[in-house]
């Protein structure tokens, strides 16, 4: 991992099919993200969003399809090798090392860094998340929800990966905090040059910061488009609520 890899890496997933061992949960998913882009994945429960992320980082097995990062194939590599391929992943739950301190969590995030760079990188991450500076000695299990998410993201930031994968980062956060996290930090990651893929339940909120959005349903990609295109499409609302096309659309009185 060289220091000038502040440039992101493009992520491509082609025809990915994966599941938890039995029948596949996601089928034939094709998507991608480019450096500097925020790409969001939305959709109702059970549509396979988390499953897709987990299969991209090697936690779940992909039965068919390929995944590449910067042109390099990472399909079904072990998670630790995918991390070495410059992919950073923030899971939805169990996202920090609870018994370790905040500082130690960051150090683990920087596990792959050469020794000399560690301290400097920590400083840089603390500059992005100043709140963590006062908490370095505290054990991660004792942080509040928002602080914990910041630590989880900071941990991934330590590696300065070319691709960020975030699984419902705002899941347990209050709406105000959620908005700030998405706006300032998630958007900020892309601003730093990386390719960012965000899975979210809060479709409206994440649409606001996305360059491109995939709508999943039933394990497949149902729609793709920019936020502007999607918001004005009745089919978009329906894919969440099922049934026939309805005129009621977010933003209408």
């Amino acid at each position: 991992m060289s220091a000038e890899a502040l440039a992101g890496l493009p992520l491509r997933a082609e025809g990915v099919t994966a599941g938890y061992g039995g029948d596949p949960v996601i089928r034939g998913i094709t998507m991608g993200a480019d450096p500097g882009q925020v790409v969001s994945l939305v959709g109702p429960n059970g549509s396979g969003k988390s499953t897709l992320l987990k299969s991209l980082v090697g936690v779940l097995r992909i039965s068919s399809g390929t995944v590449t990062v910067g042109g390099r194939r990472i399909t079904n590599l072990a998670p630790e090798e995918i991390a070495r391929a410059s992919v950073g992943y923030v899971p939805q739950v169990d996202d920090v090392f609870a018994p370790l301190t905040v500082r130690e969590n960051l150090e683990m995030g920087g596990y792959l860094l050469p020794r000399g760079q560690l301290a400097e990188r920590i400083e840089r991450v603390l500059a992005v998340f100043p709140r963590l500076s006062g908490l370095l000695g505290r054990s991660a299990g004792r942080l509040s929800g928002g602080e914990r998410k910041m630590l989880a993201m900071g941990r991934v930031l330590m590696l300065d990966p070319g691709v960020f994968l975030l699984d419902e980062p705002t899941a347990s956060l209050a709406p105000a905090v959620a908005g700030a996290l998405l706006h300032d930090h998630v958007r900020g990651l892309a601003a730093g040059g990386a390719s960012v893929v965000v899975v979210e339940q809060r479709a409206k909120a994440v649409l606001a910061i996305s360059d491109l959005t995939y709508v999943l349903g039933g394990g497949e990609v149902r729609m793709v488009g920019t936020p502007a295109e999607l918001s004005s499409s009745p089919a978009f609302v329906d894919s969440f609520l099922g049934g026939h096309a309805r005129p009621a659309v977010p933003g209408d009185g």
Binding site: D23, A178, V237, G243, A248, P250, D252
Partner: protein
């Protein structure tokens, strides 16, 4: 000389087989992993000894022990069985706690070692380390125990008793009660939700297994006339577990086979290994232990089901019933034992039930409130998963429950079913406050739930899965099982007929005698729904019943559920597929962030801004 050797073999075989049968009943059939098992045999041995021995002042007083009532045969053996059963009672409380399996196992092993240590060192109780000796043998006043004839008689009695034990455990295991035990072994939480009283079943198994082990100890003691702590170290439990695993856990013939192969056969084989003074002393006994350890590990790796695996119970379809199940069906059902059901009405005819394969006629008139929820709260780990939820469910409705991820729907269902306790608030079912009731009692009252994740009993067949849910089955208690097939045959036939009808209705009749764990995801979902229906619910709580099911099949299920509601059933269903809600459910409740957001049919809800927001905003 040869005769004595054979006798020895037979008696040890009988005693070890009995012990293995008892352990198999606990561990192999019921999933009660009792690493303190040897204690029960020890208690039996000691009890028989102190009942048979004269006061400890006899023979010059070289032993010191409690008791010594010099009672005649068969009192010592009866006492041995009783002691085994009594000692088992305190163990039941160890199994109630939700302790990790391996921690509990360690605790039980340690208990066995501790008791051994205490008995070894506290001499006045059972003569400590030296143990008891010169224990009188049965009827040794009338007969000479040294004669071959006597010993053959003893061996014969031991074998007969062992046979009796085999028939007993077989009878229990092949009954509907045995089916419930196996269901408990497969998935105790689900068994609980289907109305099985886990504590009572575990206690029963510990006590009966304890009695069997105790009796085996008593018989052994009568033969070898001594009993000391050396005979029941914790390693004996390991040997017995090895025997049961190798022979085949869950199969009683396997347990006997294991007993013959491991504790007995193994030992005897080593007799034929030539020894010489050049070898280190104790080589053979040590290698025996090494070999037992190897056998355990190798079998668990290569053939965990054992040499004689648990049999698949095949139940014939009703068309062939005349051969497989003589006696026919349709006999009116008695109330069954112990399965008290709230508001049970007496007018339960078999005809109506067999035709509908659903619940009994509703006690409440259509439109009455079956379930009422008042200010229900559930906190866990600092998070309020269910927040002041209040609503009512009317009889005969198929009510939907929807909401985004993390809204608390599954938690709410779990609290309603009793799987999780409420932090505050009340649940009122058919007019009764059931908030303090545990899950199995709610199920018996007709409030039955299904689970989101796979919860079929994997090693039971599809048909057994369905039959396991039948409430009030005469054969579904230890007492009923012991009375034998004739006692519960009628109930079983009636239940089987219902089950087959359901299987036909849902198109799974072909798979009836396959292990439920071998089916596809969608099929397993169906099994779960059918099983819930077999429980004769008045109200069903369904947690994502259509998940992973083919859309066409999902629609079929939906239509069945609507039909059931038309016949009087009440259903509350959590689902993601909103198209399903559209087509089948009315009303629909929407939850978000633990609270109830709105109620209405889908058309109304879609038009409501806050519902749309909840789904899109989160």
């Amino acid at each position: 000389m040869n005769q004595l050797y054979l006798l020895n073999l037979l008696i040890y075989a009988a005693v070890d087989a009995m012990a293995c049968l008892g352990l198999n009943q606990q561990f192999g059939v019921s999933g009660v992993t009792n690493f303190g098992f040897i204690i029960f045999q020890a208690a039996g041995g000691y009890a028989a000894a102190i009942l048979a021995l004269p006061r400890d002042t006899a023979y010059g007083g070289f032993q010191s022990y409690a008791g010594g009532w010099h009672l005649p045969f068969p009192v010592p053996w009866i006492g041995a069985a009783a002691a085994g059963a009594l000692v088992a009672l305190p163990f039941t409380f160890l199994f109630g706690r939700r302790l990790r399996g391996d921690f509990a196992a360690v605790g039980l092993l340690v208990t066995a070692v501790l008791l051994n240590l205490l008995v070894t060192n506290y001499r006045p109780f059972l003569n400590g380390d030296a143990g008891l000796s010169l224990i009188p043998q049965p009827l040794q006043g009338e007969y000479n125990p040294q004669l071959a004839g006597y010993q053959w008689a003893l061996a014969a009695v031991a074998i007969v008793i062992c046979l009796g034990v085999y028939l007993f455990v077989r009878r229990v295991t092949e009954s509907p009660y045995g089916r419930s035990l196996r269901a408990m072994r497969e998935n105790d939480v689900v068994a609980d939700s289907l109305g099985k009283n886990l504590l009572s079943m575990r206690t029963a198994m510990l006590v009966t297994g304890g009695a069997i082990a105790g009796l085996s100890g008593g018989i052994l003691v009568s033969y070898i006339t001594t009993w000391s702590p050396a005979a029941w170290g914790y390693a004996e439990t390991v040997v017995l577990f090895a025997a049961v695993i190798i022979g085949g856990a869950g199969n009683h013939l396997g347990a006997i086979l294991g007993a013959i192969l491991v504790p007995v056969g193994f030992e005897e084989v080593t007799r034929y290994i030539p020894t010489s003074n050049n070898l280190p002393p104790n080589l053979i006994p040590s290698l025996e232990w090494v070999a037992i350890g190897l056998l355990i590990v190798v079998f668990l790796w290569l053939r965990p089901q054992g040499i004689l695996p648990e049999r698949t119970r095949v139940i014939a379809a009703p068309g062939l019933a005349s051969r497989a199940r003589p006696g026919g069906d349709g006999a009116a059902r008695a109330g069954g034992d112990g399965a008290a059901r709230a508001g049970a009405d007496g007018a339960e005819g078999p005809g109506g039930r067999a035709a509908m394969a659903g619940g009994p006629p509703p006690a409440a008139p259509a439109g009455a409130t079956v379930l009422e929820v008042a200010h229900l709260v559930r906190d866990f780990g600092g998070v309020r998963a269910v927040s002041d939820v209040s609503f009512g469910v009317r009889s005969g409705t198929l009510t939907g429950l929807i909401g985004p991820n993390g809204a608390g729907k599954s938690t709410l269902l779990a609290v309603l079913a009793g799987t999780l306790p409420a932090s505050s608030g009340r649940v009122i079912y058919l007019g009764q406050d059931i908030t303090p009731l545990p899950a199995f009692r709610r199920a018996r009252a007709g409030l039955v739930r299904t689970f989101q994740l796979a919860s079929e009993f994997k090693r039971l067949t599809v048909l057994e899965n369905l039959l396991s849910a039948v409430p009030g089955h005469r054969g579904d208690s230890l007492h009923g099982a012991m009375l034998g097939r004739r006692y519960w045959r009628a109930d079983e036939s009636a239940a089987a007929a219902r089950a087959w009808a359901l299987l036909q209705r849902f198109g799974l009749a072909e798979a009836a005698n396959e292990h439920a764990g071998d089916l596809s995801g969608g099929q397993r979902r169906l099994v779960e729904i059918m099983r819930a229906l077999m429980a004769e619910p008045r109200m069903l709580l369904l947690d994502e019943p259509m998940a992973g099911v083919h859309p066409r099949l999902a629609r079929q299920i939906g239509r069945e559920l609507v039909a059931l509601c038309a016949e009087g059933m009440t259903i509350l269903m959590v689902e993601h597929e909103l198209a399903i809600m559209d087509e089948f459910c009315d009303p629909v409740l929407v939850m978000a962030e633990g609270a109830l957001l709105a109620e209405g049919n889908m058309a109304e809800l879609r038009a409501r801004q806050e519902v749309v927001e909840a789904y899109l905003v989160g």
